[in-house]
Symmetry: C2
Subunit: 349 residues, 2 copies
Amino acid sequence: MGRRLVILTEGYSNPHTAKTASCLIRYRREEVLALLDSTQSGKTAQDLLGVGGTLPIVGSLAQVPEANTLLLGIAPPGGKIPEAWRPVILEAIDRGMNVMAGLHDFLTDDEEFVAAARRRGVTLTDVRKNSERDIARCQGLHDECLRVLTVGHDCSIGKMVTSVEITECLRRGGHDAKFIATGQTGIMVEGDGCPIDRVISDFVSGAVEKLVKANQHHSVLLIEGQGSLVHPSYSGVTLSLMHGAAPHALILCYEVGREFVTGLEPLRIPPLRKIKELNETMAGIFRPCPVIGIAMNSSKLDAAAAESELARVRAEFNLPVCDVIRHGPDELARAVLAYKQQVAAKRAG
Amino acid sequence: MGRRLVILTEGYSNPHTAKTASCLIRYRREEVLALLDSTQSGKTAQDLLGVGGTLPIVGSLAQVPEANTLLLGIAPPGGKIPEAWRPVILEAIDRGMNVMAGLHDFLTDDEEFVAAARRRGVTLTDVRKNSERDIARCQGLHDECLRVLTVGHDCSIGKMVTSVEITECLRRGGHDAKFIATGQTGIMVEGDGCPIDRVISDFVSGAVEKLVKANQHHSVLLIEGQGSLVHPSYSGVTLSLMHGAAPHALILCYEVGREFVTGLEPLRIPPLRKIKELNETMAGIFRPCPVIGIAMNSSKLDAAAAESELARVRAEFNLPVCDVIRHGPDELARAVLAYKQQVAAKRAG
């Protein structure tokens, strides 16, 4: 019996904060029965998050008796469980539902949740929980499996979506591609991965290296980027991931109109050209690692403005560019395959 | 009653592995009674570590009955307690000694140690233990307190020693300088600080920011750097520290003759010019942050070779250069004061 999810977004049903909810709806739609937000009851997921069509927003768990799992659908900075959610989580447990969360605060560290879950025989799952304890050794990676990392000019601009979309596009084309999840939402979507921002800092690159090595039987890995080299709160996580994954190539993701570093306004994000250069420099310390394509998130633009931005960026960088949601990921998937051939040719010659 | 330390270096009494021991001897000599290494009994600290003069290496705890604390004096990669040390730690506890360690493996997570310590009423201290849970907000730092970060071309090349030496030199000159410890050894020397490589990766820059803000009543902060931007195992820790500390200026540390990335041979360390550029770039994303001096670790050279290297580096970079142990830190301390005046002048004008 699979997961039949109610996703809790109480008070936070907007595309930015409810990123986990949006991605589960986008990539695991068949498992999601409803969102729970009593402040928005009666609306649809499409109304609030721009995905999910008629998927209902309900006001109480009683409206979805067939659900078997409550999934906490937000990822706030600091990763704490909102205090107002406590009664809903306890009610879910009381109704015999499992509860799954991706926050820094663990359900399984909360005595009240643990006691209630034990009484009802349900499972609490903390996706961010880990016991990583290995440093990166920079050994055992090979070039038969192409490693492509998504990077970005800020956090929450579509690195995960870009990675998943390219992976699925390559698979549809018969290629053995694998999405490597590095954050809680990606892990909930893919079913495996490593929650790197919850790993002890000394062991992040080692955890990523291990994850990559465990997946080198695939032909191409699309590795989910985290944060940004220019976001002071998260840049170290970004760099640990980059150096642990040792990518062959990068896909540069950006959101049109994002001017300020998220949460740190008025810090202004440097120009995209500078972002590209920084990422290529830091990924390319020991061997070249170029940006081979640009993923434009144009969700705030209309169609005409998006085409004009696309043309502008394509001209500036002379690289494949697309919005993986608006245009589909095909152009970037082709760029990945072309680069894989280049690497293979270099290895052969 | 202060600490009367025996430092355990059993089987690892060399300057590189026993870094913690060396630094405690260098900066807290008055608290250290002996090193314990039964494989080297009868020698002196000077013989094995190049510091400490006649400080004895003993073969058993029974030789130092007046000691009240056993301090674990190594910091191996991965930070595990060597299995062979277990009986010595238990013997120390049994003799009524406190035990202090800076490893990733916690004494206080080990049931046998905890039970023994409880029986004897002694204290186990894990310097790396922390509960940091705040992300960096990039708020509340001010320019009246100058923040100087040591960076390096590799790990274990003297960033901590450089920071401590400059701090003490400034204090001798009547300046209110403070050493900001960010690693276990620095914390054991200074008595406060944050073990950043043991913090959950998402919260490293936040922990550093908090530490800096708590010390802004001082005039100058010398912030202990960690790892290196070009050491793939630790680069993320390095960058989190850099972006959390938001330094005004950098001191670039290097060891003459260090060619390969520690533990990752044959990865070759890029040239010092490139290291300087990378650090200035990554520290200078939102405002310029120059390298204002170079700390040369010439411990593997004789005096003549050291002078020749000094002249070469001074000519190449046109910056103050010295070996803080061989020459004393005065030249770098003057560079810090000069830069503080520049920042003050810019603020005033």
